[in-house]
């Protein structure tokens, strides 16, 4: 039963993509172009918390980082306001997406402390 449902939803998606291609028939964009929201595997590694942790998670590259942070906070059991996500030395802004920081499949994203007190 469930397989049928899945197939149904796939059909719908394909139809949508075809429609877009028809509309933009003059464009040179190949029909195989990856749709927005590519899914990648990312290793989330905490530097904070009472025990170091690493989790491999599949994320959409166009998901708001604020959403990812919230989900990660649930998985790691850490309040979202206590950490930033950091990729390749750049601190990710909650309003951006992983795409904006060039996060790729297999990359590591760190949970770093918001250590601004003096």
């Amino acid at each position: 039963m469930s397989e049928e449902f899945e197939e149904l939803s796939f059909d719908e998606e394909e139809e949508e993509i075809e429609e877009v291609v028809e509309e933009e028939i003059v464009s040179k964009t190949p029909s195989t172009k990856t749709p927005a929201g590519k899914k990648i595997s990312v290793y989330f590694q905490s530097t904070i918390g009472p025990s170091p942790k690493q989790e491999k998670l599949v994320v959409a590259t166009d998901a708001p980082i604020d959403d990812i942070k919230y989900t990660v906070s649930q998985i790691f059991g850490l309040p979202p306001e206590e950490f930033h996500l950091s990729h390749a030395g750049r601190t990710c802004d909650p309003g951006d997406t992983f795409e904006d920081y060039g996060v790729e499949d297999g990359d590591t994203v760190l949970l770093i402390p918001v250590s601004t007190a003096g």
């Binding site: 904070i48 306001e81 750049r90 760190l110 770093i112 918001v114 007190a117 003096g118």
Partner: protein, 420 residues
């Protein structure tokens, strides 16, 4: 060159820069391989923020024998500082932190000079930033760190930043032209729980809103926030909050008395152990750098962002490559133009000088000048002299409305006052 003076300069034990008392005091560290006590004595360090980190770094650098230490802080002492700020042990509540720090340091090591500034970092004389060897940040806000990093980038000074959060901390040393400045990867202020006025009447969306509403309930009755030292007052807010929790978040636990206190009276939690670890790392990086600045080899400064997790006793390191598009140190940054003028010159006279350096501007819409090295940035008047506008030696003036090679270009003028 007199060979004898050169010999004694290289010797720690016979350095003419040290008195016999200093030689005894510093004896054990004079024995350190690669150490040079005279280099430290000839050094000037700026400590910006004399709190949990600043006091510890100041104590360490003073004990190590750094010659001149500037202490900058806008704050006064509160008794809640005493769990971690050793320099204030005998102070009265309300005394300026920088002043008391200087007083205690003089007792700890009378052979160094301590100059205190009870002031915003923005209002401190720019010449002090221009002539110090390096800056140490013990600040508690991102805004203040951003002010300090601008001075570090413009004067090409290393800045050793530190910060803490509960059982964690970081140290990051900005090394000019080597790693990223703080604006390459802008830091963000900590998000704090506040209740927007619009959510005041509605049902609480988050569990934490219940506690904020409890506080507001107390305020509506007494026209002031609850006194967190009075348990009955905290309980009024707490009971109100927990009734809301029972109603709207039945699956989550109730708030405790301590949680209520922390929410009503919001302060960053800190403890001496974490402060001491972070401050000691800042100090050790500073001591190496001061040797390097004087041309003496001593180890290597860590160019990476270091994180310390005191809950697991581990360090983590993050590489920080410079951001080529950084608006402070990258290709998008305004150009720095140094201009030396007598203090009797008007700003108007800068226009032909800047023209000679290849800049153009619309004669109908003349460039404007902005005084930046102040707490409140303000526009400078072209028709008045530097002296009349109290523009100081090494002051940075932001200039807009210029073009170079048909491209709009903003410029930072670094004003040098002739004869100063």
């Amino acid at each position: 060159m007199n060979q004898n003076t050169k010999k004694s300069d290289n010797s720690n034990f016979f350095s003419e820069a040290l008195s016999s008392e200093e030689r005894v005091r510093f004896d054990r560290q004079l024995r350190l391989p690669g150490w040079n006590q005279k280099a430290l004595k000839d050094s000037t360090v700026l400590i910006v923020g004399v709190g949990g980190l600043g006091t510890e770094v100041a104590k360490n650098l003073a004990m190590a024998g750094v010659g001149v230490i500037h202490l900058i802080d806008v704050d006064i002492i509160e008794h809640s500082n005493l769990n971690r700020q050793i320099l204030f042990y005998d102070a009265e509540e309300g005394e300026p932190k920088s002043k008391v720090a200087a007083r205690t340091l003089k007792k700890i090591n009378p052979f160094s000079k301590y100059i205190w500034h009870y002031s915003n970092l923005e209002d401190v004389d720019p010449e002090i930033y221009a002539t110090a060897d390096l800056y140490i940040a013990g600040l508690d806000s991102v805004t203040a760190r951003n002010e300090l990093i601008r001075r570090a980038v413009h004067f090409k000074k290393p800045m050793i930043d530190g910060g803490t959060a509960t059982y964690y901390g970081h140290v990051y040393t900005y090394l000019p032209d080597e790693n990223s400045c703080l604006q390459c990867d802008p830091q963000r202020e900590r998000e704090r729980e506040t209740l927007a006025a619009c959510t005041l009447v509605g049902i609480p969306r988050k569990r934490s809103h219940c506690l904020l509403k409890g506080q507001l309930f107390f305020e509506s009755k007494h026209n002031r926030p609850p006194d967190t030292t009075v348990v009955d007052e905290v309980k009024i807010a707490l009971d109100y909050a927990n009734n809301l929790v029972k109603e709207h978040f039945p699956d989550s636990g109730l708030f405790t008395l301590d949680e209520a206190v922390k929410m009503i009276d919001q302060h960053d939690p800190t403890v001496i152990s974490i402060n001491a670890v972070i401050a000691s790392i800042q100090t050790q990086e500073a001591l190496k750098l001061l040797h390097h600045i004087k041309g003496i080899k001593l180890g290597t400064v860590n160019p990476e962002y270091l994180i310390y997790n005191g809950l697991v006793g581990k360090f983590f390191y993050i590489e920080k490559p410079p951001n080529k598009e950084c608006h402070l140190c990258g290709s998008n940054a305004p150009i720095i133009e140094t201009i030396e003028l007598p203090e009797t010159s008007t700003l108007d006279m800068i226009l032909p000088i800047i023209k000679n350096r290849g800049y153009t501007f619309d004669p109908e819409l003349l460039p404007s000048f902005w005084l930046m090295d102040r707490k409140e940035m303000k526009e400078a008047k072209k028709g008045f002299t530097l002296k009349e506008q109290k523009i100081r030696n090494y002051e940075t003036v932001f200039m807009t409305g210029l073009s170079k090679n048909n491209e709009e270009k903003d410029v930072y003028l670094q004003i040098l006052i002739k004869g100063k």
